[in-house]
Chain length 441, copies 2
């Protein structure tokens, strides 16, 4: 079976990622529904417009978001930021998203278009500052507002909403650009108090994949009641350890946005940062966000390997992250992984040029570097550098076994502290160059 | 004519870089000689050991160097630093360099080996702290000291030194690893006072090209008399605008070193930072170093294009450089250049995520981005963004003409100040991945 191309234009691998990573059923949070359709912005007639709508009216919903730090922020990013500022993250009941056009570098008219998009949804649900907007696709082109407005109308008027698996999956498809599979996950959690709640998330591919295409987008919705400041701090913390710990090509787009809605449909006390269960929920949201972010790496253009870079026993998280990122972004490390080369020299080199906040984070005589298998085979850990000393008798056969795995781990033990950071990256292949070197068409 | 592979193992292009970039004759500085031979460290029998020797005894020579900022510094880097510290950059009469083994991540024994290498040369020339050492090649292996010691002996005892073009070219060949051509340039300069002097420079490839290969090395020698502190400040300034403004893959090795010797063989007043001609000489050394650094980019693995990224009218040099570097290192920009895609979105995006020192360096409404032809064809400048507004009617035919040139310029006019930085980069091709994904062999 080949990868389904129903919403996704490009199949770069024979590995069947669609059947591996796309769920066939799921349980979704109470009080949300998802609607999508093909507005005609995408020329191929695929789904390109979606809305997540909160229908729970028992309590006001809350919203939080983390936006790109790129100095060129696209219109939908600027507007969504403003909506959150004005609303204080309360009473946000909808997210509207389109693919095919990023509404980026479009100036004032772009901002007007984004406002109109939000305005149409606000009008339908009868409230102000109630809608976040996201766009992904070609940069520097205006939104086709006639198609988008009429599409939003249709989703509401013809009630294209649903709360079943198909509706959510279609929504995940509608945000795809050159992704080879839609990224949707959903999980039910139980807290010690007995309260059960659900997280549903979706994302679209990083790597500014197709020429002029942009954006990493992610959405997480939950039926827990969470105060807006608690939701924001929870999401910020989760993103730091998930979406900000992935690398496909190290480029950060003008549209990157991860947002979260909590509608309080579960009948329990509102979660605040001082709530006894706050930390546990934060951890659950973090690992959920990590699963979602990892799917983005798995769909990295041309990638044949999913690599976890684990920097542990670091003096602080920030420096662990800086080193994990340097390794994950190094073109030489990424090509070595592709070439299945146990090239610890390149890993060490990347660690050496990482811009540390504290020089004490790195002590040459304490560093250990290993490759770690993830398929249960032994020995799990193959040591390349022990206490700063390169192992000259590395078992090359075992190295080549581990490096031929589609999933593997690079483990760096700094031995200078107790913090750790995991980063997820992929290899760099000729196929990446081919995809990204294609002329815009 | 094909690329000569006499010292260089890999020909990745049909373009005849050897005949384009390797000089067939030259005038060299007075009072220096160059010696090289095949010591046997390189298995293929190519030149792999070289010595630059000052023979002018009219004045003490001076030396300066700029070393890698990688936290893992190779033994020759640590030792050469020490030699400069102890000698104060005076009386340094030799540079000994080997290829085939980088003597990096070799610990104390590596440092002993480097000391022995320097010791053999010092003994031959009869003075202490008179020799700098550089190594390039495989990381994590010990130098084969028997071969190297005996090679140094032979260069002196059999007088393998010469001051002619062939001797200098052979020296340039002896530092090659996977370079496809040796990098040697030499120029004569005349100062307003009438004084004539010569600069000769050589370098070896950046990009930690072959698996486990490392290092950018560069040497510049001159017959001007220059005080050691003036030489150091001149070289540091030149490197900031030359070797620190090139990108092949953004990886910085453990061995990177650029050094300079001045032997004072030209009979003129010693140049100090306060000398009337200091600034002019510094500018000449800077543009000379730029020419040398550019050769390294021209030999970038798999590269088909040489691209000048020119960020002008910036508030300060540092931010101009940070932006030029972000563009030059972006995998998406590099693949777009390869794909001959006028993709200003990726350029803007890279500018947007560059880590600026001063936010005022970037004003969206003032930015201009163009592609510039370098072959004399008109219109020379093709504007993509004017005062922050993307040009939607870009002449695609002209864009494709400019982008098909082997040499071209990306011009970013920030309009926020008067400083500028030029950075040199190459495109990213499937061939790069192939070269760097090869298993160590």
């Amino acid at each position: 079976m080949k990868i389904s191309l129903s919403t996704c234009q490009k199949a770069v691998k024979s590995i069947d990622k669609y059947s591996l990573y796309v769920p066939k059923s799921g349980v979704f949070p109470q009080g949300f529904k998802a609607g999508s359709l093909a507005s005609g912005v995408k020329k191929n007639g695929n789904l390109d417009l979606g809305i997540i709508l909160n229908t729970n009216k028992s309590r006001p919903s809350t919203a939080a978001a983390v936006f790109t730090t790129n100095k060129f922020k696209a219109a939908p990013v600027l507007l969504s930021k403003k909506v959150l500022d004005i609303s204080g993250g309360e009473g946000v009941d909808a997210i509207v998203v389109n693919s095919g056009c990023a509404n980026a570098v479009t100036g004032d008219v772009g901002l007007q278009d984004a406002k109109q998009m939000v305005g149409v949804v606000n009008k339908k649900i009868g409230s102000e500052n109630a809608t976040l907007v996201m766009s992904t696709g070609v940069i520097g082109q205006r939104l086709q507002m006639a198609k988008i407005s009429s599409g939003i109308d249709q989703i509401f008027d013809a009630d294209k909403f649903g709360d079943d698996h198909e509706s959510w999956l279609n929504l995940a498809k509608s945000i795809c650009t050159t992704d080879t599979f839609p990224k949707l996950i959903t999980s039910k959690f139980k807290l010690p108090s007995g309260t059960e709640y659900t997280l549903t998330g979706m994302a679209k591919g990083a790597g500014m994949i197709c020429p002029n295409m942009a954006t990493l987008l992610g959405f997480i919705v939950t039926d827990l009641p969470i105060k807006s400041n608690a939701l924001q701090s929870m999401l910020s913390s989760a993103v730091t350890r998930s979406f900000n710990c992935i690398s496909v090509d190290g480029d950060m787009s003008t549209n990157d946005t991860i947002c979260m809605l909590a509608n309080g449909a579960v009948d329990t006390a509102v979660v605040d940062v001082t709530s006894p269960e706050y930390e546990q929920i934060k951890d659950q949201v973090t690992s959920f966000a990590q699963r979602l972010a990892q799917l983005v790496v798995r769909d990295g253009e041309g990638a044949t390997k999913f690599v976890t870079v684990n920097v542990k026993n670091a003096l602080n998280f920030a420096d662990a992250r800086v080193m994990a990122e340097a390794i994950s972004n190094s073109m030489l490390v990424k090509t070595a992984l592709y070439g299945q080369d146990a090239n610890w020299g390149r890993i060490l080199c990347a660690i050496g040029y990482a811009k540390l906040g504290d020089v004490a984070s790195l002590d040459q005589s304490k560093i250990n570097v290993s490759f770690v298998s993830t398929d249960g085979s032994e020995p799990r850990e193959l040591k390349l550098i022990v206490d700063g000393v390169p192992q000259l008798d590395v078992d090359e056969e075992r190295a080549s076994q581990i490096l031929s795995l589609p999933d593997l781990e690079v483990l760096v033990d700094l031995g200078t502290g107790k913090e750790e950071c995991q980063f997820w990256t992929c290899d760099l292949t000729q196929e990446y160059v081919t995809i990204n070197g294609d002329y815009r068409s």
